[in-house]
């Protein structure tokens, strides 16, 4: 790299009037015949909900291809862009309606922002039942933090920022 990167800073407490938008969390309408729900909670080091977090999801289409269609900010209801954004509610819960990602070891790529979190965090929510040998080489006891659980409508994925069951967060630095 020839240009040093610009450092990140916390998203702060006041993103709620700026970053959320109508349809942000609906990559497909919940009424879509193949819609699945990806939802969960964001928790702090005391296991308390984080009501001022923001999650973004980015994923492959069901056929494993990477969506490269515009339209995430003004959704037309038909185009799958593969990207969405959801803020947590007062109980620390977030929810997306989307499609099941495809590919060899499909996952939802997730970015986490919050007041109190000085820079964004990256993680992955693998689909339930992903074989261990297809997961990143994280310590065995932490593997389950990057695998979603199945539920009636899709997948549950909690983000624990700190402490017991702390989610594995990833870096991609090339050094």
């Amino acid at each position: 790299m020839t240009h040093p990167p610009t450092p990140g800073q916390t998203v702060g407490p006041f993103f709620g009037f700026a970053l959320p938008y109508d349809g942000d969390r609906e990559l497909v309408p919940p009424t879509h015949p193949d819609a699945v729900r990806l939802h969960g909670r964001v928790l702090d080091g005391h296991g308390r909900p984080v009501p001022d977090a923001l999650l973004e999801v980015w994923q492959a289409a069901p056929d494993g291809t990477v969506p490269q269609a515009a339209g995430s900010l003004r959704r037309d209801g038909f185009t799958f862009t593969g990207w969405g954004r959801a803020s947590t509610d007062t109980t620390g819960r977030y929810s997306f309606s989307t499609l099941r990602p495809g590919g060899a070891a499909p996952y939802f790529a997730i970015t986490v922002f919050a007041r109190g979190l000085l820079d964004r965090l990256f993680t992955r929510a693998y689909l339930p039942g992903t074989p261990d040998d297809l997961l990143p080489a994280v310590p065995a006891e932490r593997r389950q933090t990057i695998v979603a659980r199945p539920d009636e409508h899709g997948f549950v994925f909690d983000v624990r920022l700190q402490g017991e069951g702390e989610t594995v967060f990833f870096s991609h630095a090339r050094d």
Binding site: M1, T2, H3, P4, P5, T6, P7, G8, Q9, T10, V11, P13, F14, F15, F17, A18, L19, D44, G45, H46, V50, W58, Q59, A60, V66, P67, Q68, A70, G71, S72, L73, T81, G82, W83, P101, A109, T111, F113, A114, R115, G116, L117, L118, D119, R120, L121, F122, P136, V138, R142, L161, Q162, G163, E166, T167, F169, F170, S171, H172, R174
Partner: protein, 264 residues
């Protein structure tokens, strides 16, 4: 990492606002002394002077992975996503917002200095009195009915973004007693790859609050901190209309070699 001290401070954190600026400044100075010369250019996640971070930073090291699959790509935003008028924050409501009108422009680049073309830039900010249009901001400064403080644009063919806005004011917050944030504009940026995602804050040159602010100081390297500060640029200033500031953003290096036909 100082998990023990962080936990201890977390206990005290229930009454965090009781700390004085002198106490916070002493904590900032102690961390700066320990980090001196380390050239640590990333923002610390574990930075106790910013009290809200105590229970919200991971205690385990980030796990390195080579980006793969979707992580090598970024969502695409297009002209249907962003109205060009969204780049002018002074025309979103009836009437003229109060304060110093300013043009803010710069380029979004990757680590090799290549422009990030046609990608989304979002900003949000307080008004000239230091008040956000957010229900949670209840500090007694006036809301400006002509100013929302939210803007979006797409970068152009050479990675340039450009906004017209009002210079934000500093504002008090509850981190400690008599805590004030330096004036800033929040930026949200996308690169060519998912891993380049950046949310940060842009500051103004010479702000007297820099030394006192535990968010800005969570970057321990001065040169890295300086990269968050815009430059006054008289060539951007326009005659009898608006002052001008320039701020370039460099995203982390692009891993994937761009291929012909890539959507950018």
């Amino acid at each position: 990492m100082t998990q023990t001290s962080a936990s201890a401070t977390a206990e005290a954190g229930s009454d965090a606002a009781a700390a004085t600026q002198d106490e916070i400044s002493a904590e900032i100075a102690a961390i700066a002394a320990e980090a001196a010369g380390a050239g640590e250019t990333a923002t610390r996640l574990d930075y106790p002077p910013y009290r809200s971070s105590l229970l919200r930073h991971p205690t385990k090291d980030l796990h390195h992975v080579d980006p793969e699959g979707v992580e090598l790509w970024s969502p695409v935003f297009g002209e249907q996503d962003v109205d060009p008028l969204e780049a002018d924050l002074t025309i979103q409501r009836e009437g003229d917002p109060i304060g110093e009108r300013m043009t803010l422009t710069g380029r979004v680049l990757d680590g090799e200095g290549r422009p990030v073309r046609h990608q989304l830039v979002e900003i949000w900010q307080a008004n000239s009195a230091g008040r956000y249009l957010h229900q949670r901001d209840q500090h007694p400064a006036p809301v400006d009915p002509a100013f929302t403080g939210v803007g979006r644009c797409l970068t152009d063919d050479d990675g340039w973004y450009r906004f017209v806005t009002i210079k934000p004011g500093p504002y008090p917050w509850k981190n400690h007693r008599n805590a004030w944030r330096p004036a800033h504009i929040h930026f949200s940026l996308f690169g060519r790859e998912f891993t380049q995602r950046l949310v940060t804050q842009m500051y103004f040159p010479g702000d007297p609050l820099f030394a006192l602010d535990p968010i800005y100081q969570a970057i321990t390297d001065q040169a890295a901190r300086d990269r968050l500060v815009a430059t006054y640029d008289h060539d951007v200033t326009t005659h009898e209309w608006a002052t001008g500031y320039r701020w370039d953003v460099v995203l982390t290096g692009s891993h994937r070699t761009p291929r012909e036909g890539d959507v950018e």
